[in-house]
Amino acid sequence: MDINLYSKKIRKINKKQKLIILLTRSLLAWLIFLGAVMLSITAYSLMVNKKNLKLDGQIKIAKERIENLSDVESKQVYLTGKLKTFEGLIKSQEIHNAVIETVFSLIPDGTAINGFQVETTGEISLSGSVPNYQTLNLLFDRVQDSRAYKLGITKAVVNSISLGKDGSLSFDLTISLDIKV
């Protein structure tokens, strides 16, 4: 009968060796895996680079085509640039014209007006002269009946009325117009 006195030690060594072999194989497998990953990354990177070169070429062509259309582009830029300002001008012109139209509808024929300033705020200082009382009366009637005009009159103040040597009547009015254009 043989008695193996090293059996325990041999088993221990065997186990250790197996573990070392396993670790070595795992490391090798890991290295192979890493190599494969690197190869795929490099291949993918090269593919992306190729695409980039293609895109770059397409961009160059597109830029050339746009440069050939620079005449149309400059006209478009000109129009869009001017339209922004034009819109504001048209709006303020509409207000100015509505003010003028209202004042012209208010004053009776034969009325002289001393330099009235067209204000977009709606407050108009109107001074001038009329040849007689009838015309002055007609002017006041028109000021009181604001519904018939382009802009409504919210407030009208008669600042002064004076009689001139030639019989004409001078007036000074402040009219507040309802600006809603």
């Binding site: 250790k16 070392i20 670790l23 070595t24 490391l27 090798l28 290295l31 890493l34 190599g35 690197m38 990354i41 993918y44 990177s45 992306v48 680079n49 695409k51 980039n52 770059d56 397409q58 961009i59 597109a62 830029k63 085509r65 746009i66 259309l69 620079s70 149309v72 006209k75 478009q76 830029v77 000109y78 129009l79 869009t80 640039g81 001017k82 339209l83 300002t85 034009f86 819109e87 001008l89 048209i90 012109q93 100015h96 014209n97 003028i100 012209f104 004053i107 024929d109 034969g110 009325t111 002289a112 007006i113 330099g115 009235f116 300033q117 067209v118 001038g128 040849p131 007689n132 030639d166």
Partner: protein, 247 residues
Amino acid sequence: MNRSKSSFNILKQKKLVLFFLAGLLLSFIVFGPVISKLKLRLDTNKSLKADQAKLNIKLEFLEGIDKVLIDKRVKKMETVFPSKKPVVALLGSLSQLSKNHNLSFGKITLRPGVLSSESEEKDLVGELKDLKFGFQVVGDFDTIALFMKDLEKTAPLMKIDELDLSIKTNTFFKDEAIMVVADIKVLAYFQPPPTSLGSVDKAVEFLDKKDEALLNQLFSFKAYETVLPMAQTGKVDLFSSGLQGLL
């Protein structure tokens, strides 16, 4: 025997460590640059795709523009809302408009100032500027009212700023007003256009419905041809071939 076994074990363990170190080296030294290069290329790809999309939109838009229509619109815009001080156009339009209404036109006050200056032009780019212009029209009240109404639809675009109405009476019958004298001060506007288009990839602004409506409004402005006086001035060569035949 035991010593040789232990040295074999040490060697094997060293081999393991070497493998491990090689793995690390591969990861940090080789993978690092490869991955960063890939990242860079992917970023470039992303920005190139974005640029290409932007350029394609711009190209498609520019190719879709009706060249005849845009030419027409630019010409009309330049007549209604000019890029330079509209001195001659303004004079021409007002004189023609007053002529159309049978009003006498005169007493013009205009201070155009500098007509061309490089430094001023640079400062003015894209800025709205106005030109004040005073004139006098004489006629009856209703015609002047009509004239003012038409003025708002006359090119170049103007705004009535100040108005003064005086009555010319009959010398024999002072109560009888015969003529209305209107002193009108108008503001005409101009805006120098942008001097450069910017980079090629800069997006072009589209015209929306509101802009289209404004452009259509532009065509409602009446433009008058500027009539320039044509007269022969200076010395005449009497021996020129054309004149010799006549003499």
